[in-house]
Each structure stands twice: as structure tokens, then as C-alpha cells.
């Protein structure tokens, strides 16, 4: 894999490695300077091996997730790349005729005289980058094996010139022995392994190839290995001259394969250069001259100059633009000029800018000239596939990392929790250490040393485990997706760079957590720590504003200070200290981000009191929100900004209430207002969820207002705090769980990427947990009331619930972890089920067609109905409907819209049978064309100027076309209820013919016509002047027909036409099953976080046994049986686990509902449904394992002897 998040992997690796080395260097320096602190930190590791193991496991998880994500991306990238390299061999580019060909939708490239090849052969002599050119004929035909009646519908037939094998690999038998085309005698062929396997044919067998429906017998001379000129799909290889005779194309070829210098892998690296060189050779000098003149027009030259000066222009483009300007100054057309204008990138950028500046005439002329510049198309096929490999690998890694962020976050929280608990256990000794003169930084260092030791091991082990997990993922994914395509299989592969990135990234994340934990731990009150009193929140850190200001100034000049100190130490011959200070200076200057971070932290320390007061948080949030809406048009900054505004407002009001208690009811009043607003919105919009949320919030608001009014004269500070913090939590939760589009009338449409799932998940879980923990006593009261009815279990339940609710921070953290994991699993499960169900509706997807037959119909059309009536295997009465079409890539743009450029799309020209019988749903019908699907399809039959277009051409809320390249209709949204007919222009790039259509309908999203413009064949046949043969046939069978049998029979019956058939219903079912299986695999990957959540409960329980030893002794003394102690612990864990599960289920359910509601408009057939079994399994696993983890602690607690626990002396 080469890129991730748009950053080159190598760059990322170097940066992370740099940060890692810098951190380690700092830690080593600290250790050398303070060996005692190092010893104090490290001595804790062997003290409690079980605890150490737990910490290492907790720290490992980030590394496991990250390395698994990178490993999976690497494996996918490698698999596609290997398939491309092995499949294409030395073929790097393929040259075909592009312009002037009179064919439409033919899968076979048009022919051209072999003299073009000979001329090219002479011309490329001087191009170092090319080491082989192969004239070829590429055809497709049906083949049968008469010995066993097996057949292959679409078999490639490749004609190769034996005298031009230079640069290409020889053909090899399975035993690696070379065979040559010159060995073949008339009537003999080679077949590749793929065809051999499909037909069960071996050397010496005869095969029948159908050419124009006529059978031609061949003898197999040998089975050659797949790949290179032999291809990877079923292929027949024969000499070029024999192929020319076979297809009556003497003196013609239809493709030239190009081999770049270097082997199969290296060759692709020079592909860009080869394409440029070849494009230059194919350029028409007259057109090139016209281009020279056009580009010299002042307006266009200005565009080129401005583009050159743009900051965002990359170096490669800048270089070309600079050369272009120089070349345009010359009076004659130079080869360099042709080279530059032949490059799609340079001209594409200039075209875009002309369009932006409304220079439409210049843009159109440029387009026409560029199209006419060359009649040959050079396809860098290998580079294209390798680029796809990189893109897919990068996308998969990004997806896994973003979704894995939940688990990484949960892992970090566990680590934080562990260190907070370690600090609690060592509080007294740390207090004594501080009392005898240790500084806070010393405590930080002790924890950092200890944490680093865990971290170094954990990240390494985690990375290894992650790559082992990758192996499992690749194996499972290959099982899921490999069944449908035998040619492509996923292979396990991990790059060293990924291993380094995963390790360093995990280390950096853990260091950040560690640093924060250590900082928090160090903020203790010495007296409270020494006397082991409860934390009052008053740390011994009390820096004034002026001190903080000095700290900022000090951070600004820190490197200079280090440098000065270094010099002073050297002068005083204290060389070691001088060296350390010099290292500090170099670290701050060379690793510049450390200096920046230093300044930022100092600034934050100064600003923190104002953030805590709320007003600065509010201002900061407002700025972020406005930037999100007005500048960036992004949901993330808007949402985060708005959340900060809520927090800021709550804190400001809390501050005000301390001085003006009478305003305390404001919290409840505001919440009530929000509740009423949401309820009113839900009534107006008929939106159920907002109504439920609104009415609940309304009641909560009333509940909050009542005590505030009652105590308005002098409200206790606990009440103000509770109201303020509940206000923040409830409003935050309401903001994140209300449907996404509620704010759209104000904010407009904002962009959201996949990371919003992570941000919203974390935010809503945090808000929910925050609210619950600040109202823990209410929950306790409720449990107390309920447990009144349970009799003897009451004392157990009472303490089991009271303990977690009293340790708010610890419980809140665990609850957040657990909720977050359950939340992600719930969302994944519900969405997976919804998409799986939607895509499994085969009638919706296929337009209610049962079987599809693709043929290599290159020579004339076929009367399918007549052909079927003559079949023996299938009765005509078994068919309910038959239709056909041909698809061809075209370029399209909207008529009467000035700022549109030609964009790629696919045209589907269908016959009467298809248009009459297809049941593809039309989402929007243009005004004046009826109200039903039938009206639309009838209109298309009657008027060949009409068309309907797939949903991919339409953007809009949840619309499928939003993120896809290609033609888009402007000024129209997929969610619109009606439309006027839309005129579009269509250009066939092969023939340069141009015509228009009127779009009268938009097809539903999620069907197999999503990416095409559907129209009748009539108009195209009129334009081209010949009958256009269909390449795809669709069959709808009467009910009760065995589709599998009919699918095979059809292929067999139409083997002469090279028909390859597929059972569409089975294909849709398989695709849906694959989707579901992958979803489960991914859910399992996300479930890794669950291990952490469960581990957290185990950690807390084990810690609780130690902390509550005396209390357990007392409980045993006053009459708690052993089993009651055990139950107490189990109920306590159950309480946290169940609360987490409930929060996760509710929030996950609401989020899934919102997601489905927001895309339902753009994704027909998708419905919210709860996968009860899958969710039950998740809940059961989460709960059972958390109980199992607690069992050990519960058992330990119950075995504590009361006399031992109560002994003080």
C-alpha cells in the first residue's frame, strides 16, 4: 500500500518514527538524569505479575487494531496487484483504435491495418522505455469440448505474431517447458489453464470454436500457463495470421500490446512516460498546430500562468505548465508541446479553469481539438489496475482504522483507568514522596517510565497479534468473496512499512494516554494523599495568572534557555549537564512539533480557568460552529462547535447561579423549551423519533424546573451543579441523537465523512454517561425502591449498586467503554441487516428479470425469440418475457447548462422487449409523462428521443451520486418529488458522433441500472445507420421453472453465439449473503473492543477486592454470608455491564434509525429492522464474559476471612 489518508505511507512512517524516536530519546534522557526515578518506576512491574499482564493486554489493543487494519489493507492491495502483474505479465499498455470507428457497444476493439503497427514499430525504436510491441487480434467466441459437451460461453481468442515476441514472456507449459507459436501447424491452438479447467480439455483434444455462429474445429497442441499474452480468463492462443484468416481480417489487427522495459513489476513504473511518448507519436500535426494557436490566445495563456502560480498545484503539474509556457513561445509545434497536451492531467486542469472562468467557447474548442489530436487510444492497463489496488487497499485500511478507532479509544480509556487505579493504590506512598520533596514532574516521570516499559512490550506483541488477526480476516474474507470468482483470491501480505507505522502509531497513542494519565495522577493534594482522605478536588497546584503568563513566555524561548544552559554548563566544565541541555535544545528545534506542543500546552494552562468558567468554551464553540457552516461546510466542526457551545452555556449559567440563585430554574426552562420545540417539529414533519425525544425532554425539563423553583431563594450548591451538569449532558445527548437533517434549514447541506460515525458515537455515549453519573443518586434511589420488594437480596443489591455509583469517575469510564463497544456493535448489526435485506430483493435489483445472457455479438444481431422457438432444451412457453440491450461508454453533459463539462457515463440502448417488460422502478417521473412506470417505459418505446437515467447521475441528500465520479444532473436532487424533462447531450468517443436525449425519469437507487442512461436502440441505429446488435439478453421465466437448469440450458443452446448466462436471482442472493458475511466479519473485528470493556470490569473488580478488604470483613462480621459477598460483586459488575448494554442498545438503535431514515430517501427498499438474534448474541456474550471476568474477583472477595480483614495491628 502506498497511501493512507492521502499521505504517503513512507512519509507517514518517517514522521511517526521521528516522533517515536523523539519521545524515546526524551525518556532515555530523563532516565539518565534521574536513575532513581527510573528505578522507582520499574520496580512496580514485577511486584504484581497479574496486574502487569493486564496492563500489557490493555495497552496491546491499539496496536492489534491498527496493525490488523494496515495488514488487511496491505493484503488486499497485494492481492489485486499480484493478480494484475501475474495476469498481464509483460503487457503494460494496450493500443487500440479510438476515433472514427463505426461500432457501438462492441466488446471487441475495431480493426485497423497492420501497417499502423509496422510504422509504430519503426517510430518507437528510439524510445528507451519500450522493449516490445505485439500486434494482436482480440476476439471473443463460444467454445465447446465435443468429448464431454462442456462449453465456455465467452472465450477470448487471441492472435499473436510469433515474430514479435521480444519483450514478452514465452509461453510455458505446467512443467515450465517453453512452447512456441511457430510449433503450431494449421488447425492447432494453445489453450490456457483457465480454459483447460473449464472445458476439462487437454492436449490432443479437439475443440469447437464458433465464429459468426459457424463451428470451426481445432486441436489443442498444449495447455499453457495463465498470464501475460495467454491471459487469465479462458483463452485460445493462435498465430496472428491464422486468426486473421479465421475472422476474415487479413492485413488487419485490432490491438497492439506494449511491453515497457523491465520485468512485469518494474514495467508499470514507466507507464506514464510510455503513454506520453506514444500519444505524441499518434498526434495529428495539423490538429497539434491548431492547439498551439488556441493555447496561445491571451485568455488561455493567463489561465495557464494562474494555474502555475496556484499554491495547490503539485510539482509535476507545475513542471509541465512551465514547459508548456516555454513551448508556446516557440513559433513551431514541438514534440514537447505535443507531449504535454497529450497528457490528460494538464489539459484537464486547464479545461476546468476555463470552465470556472466562463470561457466556454475556448473550453469547447480545446475539447474538440484534444479529441481530434489522435485516433489511437493508449490504455495503461497495468498502471490503472495497480492504481486501483492502491486505492482499494488505502480505502479498506482507512475504513478499518476509522471503525477500529472505537476500540482504540476504548483501549486508551482502559489504560487510563488502569493508571488512575494504580495511582489510587499508591496514593499514600506518592503523597509521602511529594512531602519529602519530590516535584510533580518526578511523579509524572515515575509513571512514564513504568508505562513506557509496559508500552514497549505491549505495542510489539500487539503488532504481532494484529498481523496474526489479519491472517484470520484475510482467510475469512477470501472464503466470503472467493466463492464467486475462482480467478481472484486474497493473499496474506504485510509490508514492513505498515508494521513500523502500526507499531509507532500504537506507541504514540499510548504515550499520549500515558502522559495525560501521569499528569492527572500528579495533581494530588499531599495532605489528602498522606492521610488517605477522600479527594476534595483541590490539588496542590495553584499557579497564578502571572505565573502562567511567564510559563508561556518561557515555552516560547525554551530552546534558547536550553542552549544558554548548555553553554554555561560547558564553561563551568559540567559537560554531562551541558550535553543534556544541548540535546534538549536540538530536540525542541529539530522536532519542531514538540516546541509547538509545549507552547500550546502553556497557553491552554493559562486559558483553562476561563474554559472552566464556560464563556471561553462558548466563544470557542461558536467560532468552530460558524467555521464549520460558513467556511468548511463540514458537519464535524459544526457539531463539535455546537456541543462546546452547550457545555459553555451550561458552565456560564452555573457560574451565574452561584451569584444570582434566583435564575436557577433557567436550566429546566431551557430544557423544557427544547422539548416543546422538538415535539412541535415532530408534529409538523410527522417525524416519530423527534416526537419521542421531544416529549421525554419536555418531561425532564419540568422535572428539573420544579426543585429549582422550590429552592430558588437559596438553592444548595449540589442542586445547581446537578442541574448545570444535567443540562449539559441532556442537551448534548439531544443534539447528537436527533435526526441529522433537523438543522439543515439553518445550516444548509453540510458534508460528512465516515469519521462522523466515530465522533457522534463517542459524543452521544459521553453525554449519556455524563448525565447518568451526575444523577447517580436518583438511579440509586430507584434501585433502592425496586429492591425493597426483593427481601433478603436487598442488602446485596444495595451495596452492589451503591459502590459503582459512588465511584463516579471510575464507573463512568467503564460505563463509557462498555457502552461505546455495544453501541458500535449494535449500529453495525442493524445497518448490516438493513442493507443486506434491501439488497436481497432480487426483483427490485434486477427489474424482475431472472436470467441474463451476455454474448460476444460482434457480427450482426440475433432474433432471440425466433432462436428460442427452435430450441429443443427449453420450451418457448417457459419464457414470460425476453429483452435485450447493449451498453457503451459515452460522454454526457446537460444541455442549456453553461458550466458543465463532458463527463463519462454509460448508455444502455434497449430493444422493445426490454423496454416493454422491464420492471425497474422509476423514482421520479417528469411532468407530462404520466404517473406510472408503464407510462414512462411506453413513452421510451414510442419516442426514441426520450431516456430515463440511473440514480447515480443525481446527487442530493443520501443520493447515491454524491460521491461518485461521472455525469451529474445539476439543479436537481434525488429527494425532489417532481421534475421537468431534462435535455442532455451525448457524445460517442469512438465515432465522435453527438446527439441529444430528453430525460423523463430517474430510476431507483440500488438496482442494476443505477449507473446507466436507458433509452431505445432506435435513435442510435438511425444515427449510425446500421442495426446495433445486443450484447446482453434478459429472460423472465414463468413461475415454477428451475432457474439453474434453464440458465445452463440457455448457455448450451446459444454456445454458437458465445453466450454466457447467469442466474440473476442467485447472483443477488449471493451478493447479499456476501455482504452479510462481511458485515459479521467486520462486527467481529469491532468486537475486539468488547474484550477491553470486559477486561475493564475485571480490573475494577480485582481492585475493589483490595480496596474494600476491611469493609468486606465488616460485612462478613455483621452477617453477610460468603455467597452474598460473591453475589454483591457479580451484581455490581452486572449493573455496570447491563447499564452499558442498555445505553449502547438505545443509542446504537437511535443512531441506526437516524442513518437509515436519512438514506431511506436515497435508498429504496432499506428499512429499519432489529436483528434480534445477532443482537441477542452480542448482548449475551458481552454480559456472560463480563460476569466470568468478575467471578475471580468475587470468589477472592468471598474468601476473605473477616478476622484478617478487620485486623489493624
Amino acid at each position: 500500500m502506498e497511501e493512507i489518508f492521502g499521505i504517503e505511507i513512507k512519509t507517514l512512517m518517517l514522521v511517526l518514527l521521528g516522533v517515536f524516536i523523539a519521545i524515546m530519546a526524551t525518556i532515555i534522557l530523563m532516565a539518565i538524569r534521574n536513575p532513581v526515578l527510573l528505578k522507582l518506576g520499574l520496580r512496580n512491574i514485577p511486584r504484581r505479575p497479574a496486574q502487569t499482564a493486564l496492563i500489557v493486554i490493555g495497552s496491546m489493543l491499539s496496536a492489534v487494531i491498527i496493525s490488523a487494519a494496515f495488514g488487511t489493507g496491505d493484503s488486499i492491495h497485494y492481492s489485486i496487484r499480484s493478480a494484475a502483474i501475474e495476469g498481464l505479465g509483460n503487457i503494460d499498455e494496450v493500443i487500440t483504435l479510438s476515433a472514427g470507428s463505426e461500432s457501438f457497444g462492441s466488446p471487441v476493439p475495431p480493426y485497423f491495418p497492420v501497417t499502423r503497427f509496422q510504422r509504430l514499430k519503426n517510430e518507437v525504436e528510439y524510445i528507451d522505455n519500450i522493449d516490445g510491441l505485439m500486434p494482436q487480434i482480440l476476439e471473443i467466441g463460444g467454445v465447446t469440448n465435443p468429448q464431454n459437451a462442456l462449453f465456455s460461453g465467452k472465450t477470448n481468442v487471441v492472435g499473436i505474431s510469433p515474430s514479435h515476441m521480444d519483450g514478452f514472456s514465452d509461453f510455458l507449459l505446467a512443467n515450465q517447458r517453453k512452447v512456441f507459436l511457430t510449433d503450431l501447424v494449421a488447425g492447432e491452438i494453445f489453450i490456457n489453464q483457465a480454459l483447460s479447467e473449464e472445458l476439462d480439455a487437454v492436449a490432443g483434444n479437439s475443440l469447437t470454436l464458433f465464429v459468426d455462429e459457424s463451428p470451426v474445429e481445432f486441436i489443442i497442441r498444449a495447455t499453457i500457463q495463465d498470464g501475460g499474452l495467454a491471459g487469465i480468463d479462458p483463452t485460445i492462443v493462435m498465430p496472428l495470421t491464422a486468426t486473421q484468416l479465421l475472422y476474415q481480417e487479413s492485413g488487419n489487427i485490432n490491438a497492439i500490446a506494449v511491453s515497457n522495459r523491465g520485468d512485469a513489476t518494474k514495467g508499470a513504473e514507466g507507464s506514464q512516460e510510455t503513454i506520453r511518448e506514444l500519444s505524441m507519436l499518434f498526434a495529428d500535426p495539423i490538429v497539434a498546430n491548431e492547439l498551439h494557436l488556441l493555447l496561445n490566445i491571451e485568455s488561455i495563456r493567463n489561465v495557464i500562468t494562474n494555474k502555475l502560480n496556484e499554491k495547490s498545484t503539485d510539482t509535476e503539474l507545475q513542471k509541465d505548465l512551465r514547459n508548456l509556457i516555454d513551448e508556446l513561445k516557440k513559433p513551431e509545434v514541438s514534440s514537447e508541446l505535443i507531449r504535454i497536451v497529450s497528457g490528460e492531467n494538464v489539459m484537464g486542469e486547464i479545461g476546468k479553469d476555463l470552465n470556472t472562468l466562463n470561457l466556454f467557447e475556448e473550453e469547447r474548442r480545446l475539447e474538440v481539438l484534444l479529441r481530434d489530436l489522435s485516433d489511437m487510444n493508449v490504455d495503461g492497463v497495468k498502471k490503472r489496475i495497480l492504481d486501483i489496488a492502491n486505492e482499494v487497499g488505502s480505502t479498506v485500511t482507512t475504513f478499518f482504522i476509522v471503525m477500529g478507532l472505537f476500540s482504540v479509544m476504548v483501549g486508551s480509556l482502559l489504560l487510563f483507568l488502569i493508571f488512575v487505579m494504580l495511582a489510587a493504590a499508591r496514593r499514600t506512598e506518592m503523597g509521602i514522596f511529594r512531602a519529602i520533596g519530590a516535584q510533580r514532574t518526578h511523579l509524572i516521570q515515575i509513571f512514564v517510565f513504568e508505562g513506557t516499559a509496559y508500552n514497549l512490550i505491549a505495542a510489539a506483541v500487539g503488532t504481532v497479534f494484529g498481523f496474526l488477526l489479519t491472517f484470520g480476516i484475510v482467510l475469512a474474507a477470501d472464503q466470503i468473496f472467493g466463492s464467486g470468482d475462482d480467478e481472484f483470491s486474497l493473499r496474506y501480505h504485510v509490508e514492513l512499512s505498515s508494521a513500523v507505522v502500526a507499531y509507532c502509531l500504537a506507541m504514540v497513542i499510548t504515550f499520549a494516554t500515558l502522559g495525560f494519565s501521569a499528569y492527572r495522577v500528579s495533581r494530588m493534594n499531599i495532605i489528602e494523599a498522606v492521610r488517605d482522605l477522600p479527594e476534595s478536588g483541590n490539588s496542590d497546584e495553584s499557579q497564578t495568572l502571572s505565573v502562567n503568563l511567564i510559563m508561556i513566555w518561557y515555552s516560547l524561548v525554551r530552546p534558547a534557555t536550553y542552549f544558554y544552559r548548555s553553554g554555561r554548563h560547558v564553561i563551568n566544565t559540567r559537560f554531562v549537564n551541558g550535553f543534556f541541555n544541548l540535546c534538549g535544545f536540538l530536540l525542541w528545534v529539530i522536532v519542531f512539533p514538540i516546541w509547538v506542543l509545549d507552547i500550546l500546552l502553556s497557553t491552554l494552562r493559562l486559558m483553562w480557568p476561563f474554559f472552566k468558567q464556560g464563556w471561553l468554551t462558548f466563544v470557542f464553540g461558536t467560532i468552530l460552529m460558524l467555521l464549520g457552516v460558513l467556511t468548511w461546510s463540514q458537519v464535524a466542526p459544526f457539531s463539535i462547535g455546537f456541543s462546546l457551545m452547550i457545555i459553555g452555556l451550561g458552565l456560564v449559567l452555573r457560574h451565574i447561579c452561584q451569584y444570582v440563585p434566583q435564575v436557577t430554574p433557567i436550566f429546566g426552562i431551557l430544557i423544557t423549551t427544547v422539548g416543546i420545540s422538538l415535539t412541535v417539529y415532530s408534529i409538523n414533519e410527522h417525524e416519530l423519533l423527534s416526537g419521542v425525544i421531544g416529549s421525554t425532554v419536555f418531561l425532564i425539563g419540568i422535572f428539573m424546573t420544579w426543585p429549582a423553583i422550590r429552592y430558588r431563594a437559596n438553592p444548595p450548591f449540589q442542586l445547581v451543579d446537578r442541574l448545570a451538569f444535567s443540562f449539559i449532558g441532556i442537551l448534548g445527548l439531544v443534539f447528537w441523537i436527533t435526526p441529522f437533517d433537523i438543522a439543515e434549514p439553518i445550516t444548509g447541506e453540510l458534508e460528512a465523512e465516515i469519521e462522523m460515525f466515530f465522533i457522534s458515537g463517542v459524543s452521544m455515549v459521553a453525554a449519556a454517561v455524563w448525565t447518568i453519573m451526575h444523577n447517580a443518586d436518583l438511579l440509586l434511589g430507584m434501585v433502592s425502591i425496586v429492591s425493597n420488594k426483593i427481601g433478603r437480596l436487598r442488602p446485596v443489591i444495595l451495596i452492589a449498586v451503591a459502590y459503582p455509583l459512588s465511584a463516579k469517575f471510575r464507573t463512568g469510564l467503564t460505563l463509557a467503554m462498555f457502552s461505546l463497544v455495544v453501541f458500535t456493535l449494535v449500529v453495525m448489526s442493524i445497518l448490516g441487516e438493513a442493507f443486506g435485506s434491501a439488497l436481497a430483493d432480487s426483483d427490485e435489483v434486477t427489474g424482475h428479470w431472472d436470467i441474463e445472457g451476455n454474448i460476444a455479438s460482434t457480427h450482426g444481431s440475433m432474433d432471440i425469440s425466433h432462436a428460442i422457438s427452435e430450441l429443443d432444451l427449453i420450451a418457448e412457453s417457459e419464457f414470460e418475457a425476453i429483452g435485450s440491450y447493449v451498453r457503451s461508454p459515452v460522454e454526457m453533459k446537460q444541455a442549456n447548462v453553461e458550466n458543465q463539462r463532458w463527463e463519462r457515463f454509460v448508455l444502455q440502448a434497449a430493444d422493445y422487449g426490454f423496454l416493454r417488460n422491464t420492471e425497474h422502478n422509476v423514482r421520479i417521473i417528469a411532468n407530462g409523462y404520466g404517473t406510472t412506470e408503464d407510462n414512462v417505459w411506453s413513452a421510451l418505446i414510442q419516442d426514441p428521443n426520450l431516456a430515463v437515467i440511473g440514480a447515480a447521475a443525481v446527487s442530493g441528500d443520501g443520493g447515491p451520486g454524491g460521491h461518485r465520479p461521472g455525469f451529474k444532473i445539476e439543479g436537481f436532487s434525488y429527494n425532489d418529488k417532481s421534475m421537468d424533462p431534462i435535455d442532455i447531450q451525448v457524445l460517442d468517443p469512438s465515432s465522435n458522433k453527438e446527439w441529444t436525449y430528453t430525460i423523463i425519469g430517474i430510476l431507483n437507487n440500488g438496482n442494476d441500472s443505477e449507473n446507466v442512461l436507458v433509452t431505445s436502440k432506435t435513435k442510435i441505429e438511425n444515427i449510425f445507420g446500421f442495426t446495433i446488435p445486443s450484447t446482453t439478453y434478459r429472460f423472465r421465466m414463468v413461475d415454477g421453472i428451475d432457474l439453474d437448469r434453464t440458465t445452463k440450458n440457455l448457455e448450451s443452446a446459444f454456445i454458437r453465439n458465445g453466450m454466457e448466462t447467469v442466474n440473476l436471482q442467485e447472483r443477488v442472493r449471493n451478493a447479499a449473503a456476501q455482504g452479510r458475511a462481511f458485515n459479521r466479519l467486520f462486527t467481529a473485528f469491532m468486537g475486539l473492543g468488547l474484550i477491553v470493556g470486559i477486561a475493564a470490569l475485571g480490573v475494577i473488580s480485582l481492585r475493589a477486592v483490595v480496596e474494600r478488604r476491611q469493609q468486606i470483613g465488616m460485612l462478613r462480621a455483621i452477617g453477610y454470608r460468603k455467597r452474598m459477598i460473591q453475589w454483591g460483586f457479580l451484581i455490581e459488575s452486572s449493573f455496570v455491564a447491563l447499564l452499558g448494554i442498555i445505553i449502547g442498545l438505545i443509542l446504537g438503535g437511535v443512531t441506526s434509525y437516524n442513518i437509515i431514515a436519512s438514506i431511506r430517501e436515497g435508498f429504496d427498499g432499506i428499512e429499519f429492522s432489529v436483528p434480534v438474534i445477532q443482537l441477542s448474541i452480542i448482548v449475551a456474550l458481552a454480559y456472560i464474559f463480563s460476569i466470568l471476568t468478575t467471578l475471580l474477583a468475587a470468589s477472592q472477595a468471598s474468601e476473605i476471612a473477616p478476622s484478617d480483614a478487620l485486623r489493624y495491628e
Binding site: R794, I1118, R1207
Partner: protein, 236 residues
């Protein structure tokens, strides 16, 4: 002694951690009458707390016999012994050992709930008990919000709420100042007089010992002597 509530003969207890062997009790014989307040005194490590733990069934004996209200406590299973403690015994500890996460009233009602009293009745009795110890205005406060003396009052309320036959107290005034100690001991005596409950206290404080009916002095795991404190008070 007629109908002793506690009858102990030949109780021995040895602690052995592999390296060190400590004979904590070396053949204790003792009888305590119903309603008696007994103070166990002696230097640190003499076996006072071990004696208390062994007699109350918190710890096992190596040999000897302990009869509480005529029941051979150590012959009972752990569960039955625990149930017996819940119904018939109360405990007061030096460090109060209240559950920090429960309010005063919840702490006090725990023994009642354990012995099967209904929630409403348990709450009522706990409130009455807290009123009796003078904490009617501190019922819904958690231990961290109470002073040391107040916490010990809650502990006493908890120890007495289920009307136990015996209250075991290990250094009940160890963490308190002199004045509060006296207040607590006055409370203990008042409740003892009102309910006729037996109190067995381990203490270092001579003042507390003086307030008991009898003082048992221990040294090196044996009872050195047992005096009537009235006699001692008279001697003073």
C-alpha cells in the same frame, strides 16, 4: 456463674505463616454473664483481638470450646455461624468500618435486612436507633460527612439495631478524643442498662476499662487476671 452467655474453655489459637509461629491464645477459660460489660485489656500483641474474633466466630479455634447462649458456635457451618452473628451479635470497630457509599440510616438498617426484616420496618427501626444515639439530623449523611464521634455512634446504632444478645467492640474509642470517648461509653452503658445486652470490649484505655463491669487483663495469650471494675474504682 449462673447461665453464662459466653462460656469458653481451653481455647488456643496459633498463627503460622510458614516463617513465624505465634501462639496468640494459650488455653483461655472464661465466662461472661448476660448483661455484663466486660473490658479486655492488655499490651499490644497479647491476643485481645484474637480472643474477640474467636469468641464471636469471626475466626476459627485450634482447640477448646466456645458456647454462646449455650450454642457451640464453632460446630456450626460458616453460613449458620454468619446467620447467628446477624441475628444475635453486634460489632463495633475502632475504625468504625461503615460502608462509605451508604447513608447513616442505610448502614444501620443493614443487619436488619440481613436478618430478614422487611424494608419499611427496617428503615423505621434504623431511624429509631439513630434517634436514640442522637443522630436524628444526620440520617441521610454518608460517613465522610460525619465526625469521628458521629461515625462511631452510627456504628453503635448498627451494632444494636437488631437487639443482639452480645455486642463485640474492638477499641471502640481508639480513634476518638477523650471527651468523645466518654460520650460513647456513656451511650454504651445507657443502652446496656436499657436493653440488658452483653458488651465485650477490647480496649487500651484505662478510662474505658473503668466504666466496664469487669476487666480481663491479658498477657502473652493468657488471661492474667479478671477484676470487678467496681472494686477497682473503689480501690482508686
Amino acid at each position: 456463674m449462673e447461665d453464662p452467655i459466653i462460656a469458653v474453655t481451653g481455647v488456643t489459637k496459633t498463627y503460622n505463616n510458614g516463617k513465624l509461629r505465634v501462639e496468640a491464645l494459650k488455653g483461655i477459660d472464661l465466662e461472661v454473664s448476660r448483661g455484663e460489660i466486660v473490658a479486655v485489656m492488655g499490651p499490644s500483641g497479647c491476643g485481645k483481638t484474637t480472643l474477640l474474633n474467636c469468641l464471636s466466630g469471626l475466626d476459627n479455634l485450634d482447640s477448646g470450646e466456645v458456647y454462646i447462649e449455650g450454642k457451640k458456635l464453632h460446630a456450626l457451618s460458616d453460613d449458620l455461624r454468619t446467620d447467628y452473628r446477624a441475628r444475635r451479635m453486634g460489632f463495633v470497630f475502632q475504625h468504625y468500618n461503615l460502608l462509605p457509599v451508604l447513608t447513616s440510616v442505610e448502614n444501620v438498617e443493614l443487619p436488619l435486612l440481613l436478618s430478614g426484616t422487611g424494608s419499611r420496618r427496617a428503615r423505621g427501626l434504623a431511624q429509631e436507633m439513630l434517634e436514640m444515639v442522637g443522630l436524628q439530623d444526620r440520617m441521610n449523611h454518608i460517613p465522610a460527612e460525619l465526625s469521628g464521634g458521629q461515625q462511631q455512634r452510627v456504628t453503635i446504632a448498627r451494632a444494636l439495631v437488631n437487639q443482639p444478645a452480645i455486642v463485640w467492640a474492638d477499641e471502640p474509642t481508639g480513634d476518638l478524643d477523650t471527651e468523645t470517648s466518654k460520650e460513647i461509653m456513656d451511650l454504651v452503658i445507657r443502652l446496656n442498662k436499657a436493653n440488658l445486652q452483653t458488651f465485650m470490649m477490647v480496649t487500651h484505655s484505662p478510662d474505658v476499662g473503668m466504666m466496664a463491669d469487669r476487666i480481663i487483663r491479658m498477657r502473652d495469650g493468657v488471661i492474667e487476671d479478671s477484676d470487678d471494675s467496681n472494686k477497682l474504682r473503689g480501690e482508686q
